[in-house]
Symmetry: C2
Subunit: 235 residues, 2 copies
């Protein structure tokens, strides 16, 4: 029993906290109550500890936010780069990567704006691709599949821009207060009858739950355009 990785009744206090627990709790808190609910003091209280104890595991608030983004992005890194060669080449790779990042956005709609807006550490990192490993793999995969360097860079920019545009709107949709649907902005002087075209098209604009299919359609169209770039037959 004695001589394990740590003696259990040592005079030194074993931590009641861990960095992983702090970060997981922060993510859970923001998922549940929104970004506004996250403060060091509130987070400490949630864990059952004073706020100052967190500073042993996290290098201040900014480091905490970065770590949350990293942890939320972790499944993307894990799942994206599996066996590119046999299972469909760049097309399957980009499809899977896109889906994975979409799941991140829908699983954590309150955190996705952080993924999009926090300053990336390196100059070539374009959100929502947040670290060098992901980008290295992304570019290497495209080069392997026969894209030129210039084409790969173009695909990188196009793909990130596509994901960001789609998923910011998806996340915003998911964090809307689920209040009564037919409300007006200021509830003030202006009335809906001033906007006849919007009223007339309101059913087309609300699109309940159509978001996932639209993402799939648009991603497929994007892959078609990329395929045309390298001279791949569309069908």
């Amino acid at each position: 029993m004695a001589g394990e990785t740590g003696a259990q009744d040592d005079a030194a206090a074993r931590p009641v906290l861990s960095r992983a627990q702090v970060i997981r709790t922060a993510i859970w808190l923001v998922d549940a109550e929104g970004a506004g609910a996250l403060s060091m003091r509130r987070l400490g209280a949630e864990i059952g500890v004073e706020a100052m104890a967190l500073y042993r595991y996290v290098d201040g608030r900014e480091d905490l936010l970065d770590a949350m983004v990293d942890l939320v992005s972790a499944p993307v890194e894990d799942a994206a780069g599996k066996d590119v060669g046999e299972s469909g080449g760049w097309r399957a790779y980009l499809w899977r990567l896109g889906q994975q990042i979409r799941w991140m956005a829908t699983d954590h709609p309150h955190i996705f704006p952080l993924v999009a807006t926090r300053h990336p550490a390196a100059p070539w990192l374009r959100p929502p691709l947040r670290n060098l490993d992901m980008v290295e793999e992304f570019l290497r995969t495209l080069l392997q599949c026969g894209f030129s360097a210039g084409q790969a860079a173009l695909v990188y920019r196009t793909f990130t821009s596509f994901l960001l545009g789609h998923l910011m709107l998806t996340a915003a949709e998911l964090t809307k207060a689920t209040g009564p649907a037919g409300e007006l902005p200021g509830a003030s002087s202006r009335t809906l009858s001033e906007f006849p075209t919007i009223v007339q098209m309101s059913d087309l604009l609300s699109e309940p739950g159509r978001d996932a299919e639209e993402f799939d359609d648009d991603l497929e169209a994007l892959l078609d355009r990329i395929g045309a770039l390298v001279g791949e037959p569309t069908d």
Copy 2:
């Protein structure tokens, strides 16, 4: 002299502030020092007044942020809807609108994330189109130009998603700390030689100042795709 819009030596104190001045100063402050610099107390100090005085002109911090977004978006509304018919139809309209919103992002890169992430007042508002007037005009223009309602709704979603993706990345680029370019994230254990593909392509990924042209190219390609939707010859 007497009997003007207001007596000049009245016992009632004339305001030293105005709502417009408060909002303009807030925008100026965020442009200059970033969103983190904006607080009611700091803003008051910048104007030369105690923070509490601001509450007479602004209904709290949230209202201030909304008003900043509105003011920054104002040039877009003014310039977008001019004489659609004679000057090129929907294509010229969407081109001008896209450019106008891009200027908003490049003029106020620290404020654009606010435009993108603040909860829109109405359910059909998709950032960066932030108010019902803009959307009403957008849809009416497309219908006038022969788009079906379904097509107009599709174009609305596609266009907003395109702008958001492009301009979030443009704004992020412009708010980067202009530090030394070849830096590593944590400056820690990992070295750039672990990312050979990125190193090899670094010149292609940095693209200095190419952003505007790429936006123009991509917007044009988007308009081509929209044109194909309504059966317009591409060239």
